[in-house]
Symmetry: C2
Subunit: 358 residues, 2 copies
């Protein structure tokens, strides 16, 4: 890793073995659990391996999870029978398995549904064409997400001026998406535009995505980054060091309430107390019109060991109880604006979201 | 460690070798950097070793630091010359060394000043009596702190009712004081009084005093404790799980502004946003009348490695900048009350503090 590295960071891609044919192909992903120490890409076409990669956070970030799930469906079909009707059944069964990996991110369900729909559209094709079309659809999901990141970056960069410092939580950067991220896309874009932008990264306990991933990709992108512990955010705001908070989202309800990494809600309260604008950056597909408000969003509870041990060393006494929700919900009232690929939604988020869907 | 353990937890004591004589004696302290894995007591009369114990947080917590510093002065005098005037000089030099170990905790300076004063009072005594009197004074500081903890516990317990859950940050328990703690003293007292009290402990990054120390001593004391990451505090408050926040203090300014472990200020903001009362528990000696308000309190900055590595494993990329303040200052307006050994100071804290000093 050097600052002169200029290859875009692509955490999940489809590796076609005989291009321009998409099939046969494999899914190539960066194992994010080994960052920042090791940069290791894994290549596989096995469904179980890809389910585990999502469940165990080797791939994480709502958009990247959706891309990986779509590619996992396509990769798995390659091992399928020579009968399109049976391939359709296999697609359904695989989609159910993938849907069970992470409960909160709506992009996962959105991507699976899109692949199912494409399957139905292609149900009269011969099996080989069916497999090819589904692989192509998975690649389209990735490419569209890359374009979405660029568009979010353009809209969001308008909120930043030369010399600004952005505070961010968790990782909603290139590593969470197809390419440049959601929350970090405006930072990368503003940097490309020649503005001097610095980032303060919350380390984001318990899994330290801010320390391990956000700091890593920003240094790789030659952007100034300062790491803090989550509990220092109020202090850096009070010292006037933060011009705006940008985070991603795992699911946005129809009224604008937003589920994101645990700690986001507290950060939004602190930003409001210090009159720092608080922006959510997310693809429009993160908005779930089936969920009227945040109270309807299921919150994943994760294992106590994420909190009680680190790098194999125990940090808390045996027998201690742990509460470890992976997400929280930030009420729409605390959100200054939602930055999507279609533009910025401000003011009353519920009407703004409804209007943007027209 | 078992729940049936009934010995009071005493993190720092003077071990007199020929009681009732205090001299010769050694300082016996629990090495808190090895908790919760190992319970190791260290015994020494060496000034440098005790300075290091304070600087490297083997002993931590404002009252425990004061006690250790006083005992370190007394222990060091035992190696001193046979001339009281020279012992006085040695006392001064040692006090300067100890004062340089930690800049924020006022109890440290308070304890050193009290030992200096006692030295002046005893300046006409023969050297052996001088040493004995100074050791006795250090022991009095410890015993008075133990009594202070009990009194804080009695006053604070009145704020708790059966079934309440207290959220606390860092460790202001027995391990931070002579015996039962400041913030945790009301919990222990209410438990002794037969109330069912549960505690939610913030893990308290970067050094995890909540996970390592608070959880350990509460389990030892048979009190129900649930560990969370710092960034989960807003969520547990929002879920209505917290009836009160209790923390300790490293220094309280004359107007009530309070320096405490980094994260306390943010927690106070979150408590206020959720209408959860926020209490500071501290010995009266923590109030520094020489400091008119919080802007005058120096904030110790600690090493980046506390944030970028854990248990020998690197958690952030090489070259990342780190901001690592050890403390923050909570404005008086966010504090519901200060619980001291003399009673509870409420309302306008500045007048309350002034009145309590009468």
């Amino acid at each position: 890793m050097t600052n002169s590295e200029t290859e875009p960071l692509r955490p999940v891609v489809w590796h076609a073995h005989n291009p321009p044919q998409r099939v046969p192909g494999t899914v190539r992903y960066l194992d994010q659990t080994r960052l920042p120490g090791e940069v290791v890409y894994i290549e596989t076409d096995q469904l179980d391996e890809l389910c585990r990669a999502i469940r165990e956070l080797q791939v994480r970030g709502a958009p990247a999870i959706g891309i990986t799930a779509a590619m996992a469906l396509a990769a798995n079909l390659q091992h399928g029978p020579d009968e399109t009707a049976e391939l359709m059944q296999q697609l359904e069964l695989s989609a159910e398995k993938l849907a069970a990996t992470r409960p909160t991110a709506v992009n996962l369900f959105w991507a699976l549904e899109r692949m199912r729909r494409r399957g139905k559209e292609c149900r009269l094709l011969p099996p080989e064409s069916f497999k090819e079309e589904l692989a192509l659809e998975a690649c389209r999901i990735r490419d569209e997400d890359a374009a979405t990141c660029v568009a979010i970056g353009r809209h969001g960069a308008a909120l930043l001026k030369d010399g600004d410092t952005v505070l961010t939580h968790c990782n909603a950067g290139a590593l969470a998406t197809a390419e440049t991220g959601t929350a970090l896309a405006p930072v990368y874009q503003a940097h490309t535009d020649g503005k001097r932008i610095a980032v303060i990264a919350d380390e984001t306990r318990p899994l330290l995505q801010g320390a391990r991933l956000t700091a890593w990709e920003l240094i790789r992108g030659d952007i100034e980054v300062t790491l803090i512990c989550d509990n220092m955010a109020a202090q850096v705001m009070r010292e006037g060091r933060v011009n705006a908070v940008f985070t991603g989202a795992d699911r946005i309800a129809a009224n604008g309430d937003t589920a994101n990494k645990i700690g986001t809600y507290g950060l939004a309260l602190l930003a409001n107390a210090h009159k720092v604008p608080f922006y959510i950056c997310a693809p429009f597909s993160t908005i779930d019109m089936q969920t009227p408000d945040g109270s309807q969003i299921p919150i994943e509870q994760r294992a106590p060991e994420e909190v009680t041990a680190f790098a194999g060393a125990r940090t808390a006494p045996e027998g201690v109880k742990v509460y470890n929700p992976a997400f929280d919900v930030t009420p729409a009232a605390l959100i200054s604006a939602i930055v999507t690929e279609h533009g910025i939604i401000r003011g009353d988020l519920k009407s703004g979201i409804a209007a943007a869907r027209q």
